[in-house]
């Protein structure tokens, strides 16, 4: 995909939860999306990694109801999750992880500042 993350200001209003969390289990994985061919060395081709359902252990809730675990969907996207991956997760009301790169979409300090501001 390799587009930059969406502007945080566009995404944050959709977030029901903003949590600092770690992936503890990949519960399920979806089918691999259709792939586009491209010459060797091409980037921004836009092929997506399969959707996943993952369980998050929540260390801190920055927005939303207090929870210790969340089972959420990682949509077909340009990133994939595995146990041990961590960072700030923005999750919408449908329990879908927001942000083009999940926990690597925005610097945690920027999210914290946006939540304060």
């Amino acid at each position: 995909m390799a587009k930059p993350p969406e502007p945080l200001a566009d995404v944050l209003p959709q977030a029901r939860w903003v949590v600092d969390a770690e992936v503890i289990e990949v519960v399920a994985s979806g089918p691999t999306p259709p792939r586009k061919d491209a010459p060797p060395g091409s980037t921004s081709v836009g092929n997506l990694a399969a959707a996943q359902t993952v369980k998050l252990a929540v260390k801190q809730v920055l927005r939303g109801d207090s929870v210790r675990e969340l089972v959420v969907e990682k949509p077909a996207a340009g990133y994939a999750l595995k146990p041990g991956d961590k960072g700030p997760f923005l999750v919408d009301a449908n329990m879908v992880i927001l942000g083009r790169y999940g926990p690597d979409s925005w610097h945690p300090e920027r999210i914290a500042a946006a939540l304060k501001g």
Binding site: P40, A49, G78
Partner: protein, 582 residues
């Protein structure tokens, strides 16, 4: 010829006499005196070359130089030297004569060092010489070359150090600041306590027979704005840096009315306050300059500058490339509007840090442009021409497959860009500002022209190759290496060789089928990066990369500006391909 008994000294002085005959203005300065004294001081057990090297060693005081020569000087050589000073036909610079008198042990009238100042003496044939406080560091800037660099007027270069007697000699500016005849050079002394002398400004002389270098002009710093009542305010948009050399005279000619206006720049190389010319928004002006010696009739123009505005948005100057399909609604209509950007084409020239990828899948393009901007910014400056009417011509290179040669492909665009609801550009932007009046234009315009050339933003926004952009911008063949078929040494050497040869380099990560290896690394799958440099610290080899998003990078890599370093071993794990210009 004075009576000189030493054969080698006599031979050397004959050479000076011959040079003087062919150039009667020649005087013996510091350099020539060193050569003479090296022949005299060589009886102390040192060769004349060793003496010469010791005399020229930085930080050696005049007293030490005198003592060094006296230690090796015979009575006969002393007589020879006195003959040169007293009856030699080749005139001596005052400072040179004073030096030789000191070697001869004659009482001399020594110019006292200024108590808090700096005096420049003689000409600059052998560099800057003068007198200041003992031990002071000498700093200088060439104000004739600085405007088109990125120098502020106090971005000085350390060129020498005064000895214990406060004197300094042969202090030379180098690189793009090297002095030529007539250049305006500003010098100051920096004392041990950190304070400085007043600036001393000179016009370099003695370097060439004629001043042939005209005043350079930083066209990209000239800001024009409609001041109303038919007046255009002319300012420096970056007043900490120069428009041209101090005292240069600029002429602005309105291309609509053909009316010309001239102005003399102040002692900082800036426009005087409240300088205006006649015109209106949308007018373009041709700029010419003279340093008083060259181009005095303003016949040679530097380029054009345009007054922003006119009737923004009411007239599309050049049809724009269509949006990417993701930004069209179900009916195929654009979901984003356009705005006319009127900022400067360049602010201090193209830089890698200017470039920021927009919401479009063309990472290969900004990665390649940032790599070129880092290593060969002039190539970008040459690519883009401001037509002076609100349009710009970007010239790409296309390979002619019949001949194998590259041919020019000029693409004309205006500065209307698709914008988000908050006004910032939707696609490629510059990092300095999102404001339509301030954003540096070069990167979004080159991207727009590339989209125009290829058909639309959709045609460039679904992936591509860094190599294609290198070739399209530089007209040179680009190479590709699959890293899995190589090794750390070969990869590092390839990067080093290319960057040392001023050739841009980029790299690509694995595709999304390998995306799980990237989570939490600060590096992203299916993505292109610019390679800005390399470092070798002992056995550790590092590669300096830049994310074209202008942010997002591995942790503990300084500010979140997209620039980071990876060990070559980490680079090999995270990257799939390397691309560079041959």
């Amino acid at each position: 010829m004075p009576q000189i008994s030493d054969r080698r000294l006599s031979s050397l002085y004959s050479t000076f006499e011959a040079q003087h005959r062919s150039n009667p203005s020649l005087k013996l300065g510091q350099e020539q005196v060193f050569q003479l004294l090296a022949q005299i001081g060589d009886r102390s057990g040192w060769s004349s070359n060793k003496v010469l090297a010791e005399l020229k060693k930085p930080g050696v005081s005049r007293e030490q130089q005198v003592a060094l020569v006296q230690r090796g000087m015979t009575a006969s050589e002393k007589r020879d030297l006195a003959a040169i000073v007293d009856s030699g036909q080749v005139p001596l610079e005052p400072s040179a004569k004073q030096f030789l008198d000191a070697v001869l042990g004659r009482s001399t009238t020594v110019t006292p060092p200024p108590t808090n100042g700096l005096t420049i003496t003689g000409d600059q044939k052998n560099g800057l010489s003068g007198i200041t406080k003992a031990g002071a560091q000498i700093e200088a800037i060439n104000l004739s070359t600085a405007p088109t660099g990125r120098y502020r007027v106090d971005d000085t270069m350390v060129v020498g150090k005064a000895g214990q007697d406060g004197r300094f000699d042969m202090a030379k500016l180098t690189g793009d600041m090297a002095m030529r005849e007539g250049d305006v050079v500003r010098i100051r002394a920096r004392y041990d306590d950190g304070s400085t002398s007043d600036w001393v400004t000179i016009n370099a002389k003695g370097l060439e027979t004629r001043d042939t270098r005209n005043a350079a002009v930083a066209l990209f710093r000239i800001g024009l704005s409609d001041a109303g009542n038919g007046k255009i305010a002319v300012t420096n948009i970056n007043a900490s840096r120069q428009i041209s050399e101090p005292g240069a005279r600029l002429q602005l000619t309105n291309n609509r009315t053909r009316e010309s206006f001239s102005v003399t720049l102040d002692d900082k190389g800036n426009f005087p306050a409240n300088f205006t010319v006649n015109g209106r928004a949308g007018d373009s002006f041709t700029v010419a300059a003279t340093d008083g010696k060259n181009n005095v009739d303003f016949r040679e123009a530097v380029g054009n500058v345009t007054v922003p505005g006119g009737q923004p948005g009411t007239q599309d100057l050049v049809p724009d490339p269509a949006l990417h399909k993701d930004e069209l609604d179900a009916a195929g209509k654009p979901r984003f509007s356009k705005a006319r950007f009127t900022g400067p084409l360049f602010i201090d020239g193209p830089k890698a840090e200017d470039v920021a990828q927009g919401q479009i899948g063309n990472c290969y393009f900004p990665a390649a442009m940032a790599a070129i901007a880092k290593i060969n910014p002039d190539a970008i400056t040459r690519m883009i021409k401001d037509n002076g009417d609100g349009t710009f011509t970007v010239t790409f290179k296309q390979r002619d497959w019949a001949t194998g040669r590259f041919k020019d492909v000029p693409v004309k665009v205006d500065a209307d860009l698709y914008v988000r609801s908050f006004g910032g550009p939707l696609y490629g932007r510059s990092t300095n500002s999102n404001d339509a009046r301030q954003m540096e234009l070069w990167y979004p315009l080159v991207e727009k022209a590339y989209a125009q050339w290829k058909g639309s933003y959709n045609d460039i926004g679904n992936g591509g190759l860094v190599n294609d952009v290198f070739e399209a911008c530089l007209g040179q063949n680009a190479e590709y290496m699959a890293l899995s078929w190589s090794n750390e040494t070969r990869v590092f050497d390839t990067i080093k060789r290319a960057l040392d040869a001023k050739k841009p380099v980029g790299a690509g990560t694995f595709g999304s089928d390998e995306s799980s290896r990237y989570t939490n690394t600060g590096v992203y799958a299916d993505h292109a990066y610019s390679i800005l440099g390399y470092e070798q610290q002992g056995t550790e080899k590092l590669i300096v990369l830049r994310n074209p998003w202008a942010e997002s990078e591995p942790r503990n890599n300084g500010p979140n500006d997209g620039i980071f370093k990876l060990k070559v071993s980490e680079f090999m794990k995270l990257f799939q391909s390397l691309m560079w210009v041959e």
